[in-house]
């Protein structure tokens, strides 16, 4: 490679990093601006918007609602996903590829279509828009991720573990709880955190499956329809912080295994 192309490529590389971080940094910065108006120039700084947000009962209850949905859908996705990962890690059985494709199907369906299909589906099974419908939607979306991570983890499990347990008289169920599940735990914690993040930050499913009570992204979306405000920046900055901390933790857990 010539010197010139190398210099140009390193410029593109840095430009990309700037492109990723500048918008979010400006957004966080605007949350500290001492004025109701979002935009430059910035004359002074304040923590007022954060104070308002943390005292706003509505925002706090929406936050709790989103968190409850995230926890519930993550729990369900972990149970179903682990179960499916173990099934798909078995030696060949008839239709294995079909089952794998079906279980991973939600991963390739565009968001809006998945949301609409689930909205129609929940109507046909008489599940009203609201918390349960959103939990169902987020679980459907999260399961393929748990399955893929779980299968990757299981592929590195030595067969001797399971065989040893069975030689010692453990049946399939006890072998699972005593040997296989503990082996999968680090991967499952990492996958679980990512499921929580995708659920907490999901908009399109929560929007179409939700009732009158909004989740946090839906609330931000609704607020933005009436105009930008520094409170939204403060909320977004908090979301950004929590997301970054959780994401980095999950990444560390999954790297270490």
């Amino acid at each position: 490679m010539t010197r010139h192309t190398r210099i140009i490529m390193s410029m593109i590389y840095w430009a990309f990093i700037i492109y990723l971080f500048v918008p979010l940094s400006v957004m966080v910065l605007m949350g500290f601006k001492d004025s109701k108006f979002i935009g430059f120039p910035i004359k002074g700084y304040t923590l007022e918007w954060y104070r308002i947000v943390f005292q706003d009962m509505e925002v706090l209850s929406i936050f709790g609602y989103s968190l409850a949905i995230a926890l519930a859908s993550t729990f369900l996705a972990l149970v179903i996903g682990t179960w499916a990962a173990i099934l798909l890690s078995q030696k060949k059985f008839f239709g294995k590829m079909v089952v794998f494709a079906l279980i991973c199907l939600p991963a390739v369906i565009p968001g809006i279509i998945s949301a609409i299909a689930l909205r129609i589906f929940s109507q046909t099974i008489n599940l009203n828009p609201g918390m349960l419908a959103i939990i169902l939607g987020h679980t459907v979306h999260s399961v393929p991720f748990v399955v893929l991570v779980g299968m990757a983890r299981l592929s590195s499990q030595p067969m001797s573990h399971v065989e040893a347990a069975q030689d010692l008289g453990a049946d399939t169920v006890i072998t699972f709880f005593r040997v296989t599940l503990p082996y999968m735990v680090p991967a499952l914690i990492g996958a679980g955190i990512f499921c929580m993040l995708t659920s907490f930050d999901d908009f399109v499913r929560s929007f179409f499956l939700g009732g009158y009570e909004p989740t946090l992204p839906v609330y931000i979306f609704a607020q933005l329809r009436t105009g930008m405000s520094p409170e939204i920046n403060a909320i977004s900055a908090v979301v950004l912080l929590i997301t970054a901390v959780l994401g980095l933790t999950a990444e560390r857990l999954m790297r270490r295994m």
Binding site: L24, A117, G247
Partner: protein, 320 residues
């Protein structure tokens, strides 16, 4: 880690499991359920298969079904009537098919732009950055991508606004006098969607490029290939798998955004997801039509992705 898990179980749990394994009730149940290989298999397979059929396939099939209904949700006492009217209306109504084809074209263009933008980044990262720095870079770029669609779209709104950073900088250096109205155009929408999807391109490209041994390029250079020939005949074909999966992911994901076109797009850049959402609005209530729109969108995007993967797959084999 493994060893810890194998031996580190606390005594309380050990007690429970050994109690359970000799418990007569449990022995009776497990004796029946786990008796044969076939029973053990179905005990394991029943729930995931049921979930895949009901949770994953069910909604899609129901969506196709509803798209042929005359009306839905059904009012009390009304029978289901089937019709092809919604499908006919799609192909004959301007305001329906224009956003549809616009979305397909727009997503294809965005996929190509994302590829062109991120390929040099992935290449530079895989080839010219030290190994330990590569991991750090990947960790850092992941952070913006964990943040959801809404927050990142909002960040782009602030960036491109009339009083945003870009306009302020351009005015500051005297490039322009009045702010350029970037917002609510195809441009702002494109910037937003690329911002949301570029990681799905970057990661597959990086993992494909990282696997190519340096000796390949060196061998080509020894045989007299120039930089361009080395790239075109060695690196590019070897990174084909990454290009294929990156483009497929970005294409499928970018067609599925709803909030981003609403927040960043304008009247002349209405995307199909907005048209679909419109049929589910409280006032409109044209569900069968929305189901039909979603169905046609799903068929089209998956078909395009399949054709693209087929072409790339075959091409890759031909080159190798």
């Amino acid at each position: 880690m493994t060893d810890n898990n194998m031996h580190g179980a606390d005594d309380g749990r050990k007690g429970f499991w050994s109690w359970l394994s000799v418990n007569p009730g449990y022995r009776a149940i497990s004796g029946v359920l786990l008796k044969t290989e076939r029973r053990r298999f179905w005990l394991l397979a029943a729930l995931p298969i049921l979930w895949a059929l009901v949770g994953n396939l069910g909604p899609i099939i129901k969506m196709f079904d509803i798209s042929f209904y005359e009306a839905y949700p059904l009012t009390a006492g009304r029978e289901v009537g089937y019709t092809l009217e919604h499908w006919r209306a799609f192909f004959t109504t301007h305001v329906f098919y224009v956003p549809f084809f616009r979305t397909i074209m727009f997503s294809m263009m965005l996929t190509a732009s994302t590829l062109i933008l991120t390929y040099p980044v992935a290449y530079f990262l895989a080839r010219h950055v030290r190994k330990n720095r590569q991991m750090l870079f990947l960790l850092i770029v992941l952070i913006p991508f964990w943040v959801g669609e809404i927050v990142r779209t909002y960040a782009i709104m602030i960036l491109l606004g009339n009083k945003g950073l870009i306009n302020m900088l351009l005015q500051y250096v005297g490039f322009i006098e009045r702010p350029i109205p970037f917002m609510y155009t195809s441009f702002s929408l494109g910037v937003g969607i690329v911002y949301l999807t570029s990681l799905y391109m970057l990661l597959p490209l990086y993992s494909a490029l990282e696997k190519i041994p340096h000796s390949m390029s060196e061998a080509a250079a020894d045989l007299g290939a120039g930089p361009w020939a080395r790239f075109r005949r060695v690196t590019l074909p070897l990174s084909k798998a990454g290009i294929a999966s990156g483009c497929t992911l970005v294409f499928l994901i970018s067609t599925g955004f709803y909030a981003t076109p609403v927040m960043l797009g304008g009247p002349s850049s209405t995307l199909f997801s907005e048209t679909i959402a419109g049929t589910f609005a409280v006032a409109a209530d044209r569900w069968p039509q929305g189901a039909m729109f979603s169905s046609i969108m799903l068929i089209t995007t998956l078909t395009i992705a399949a054709i693209f993967l087929k072409i790339m797959g075959r091409g890759g084999k031909g080159v190798l």
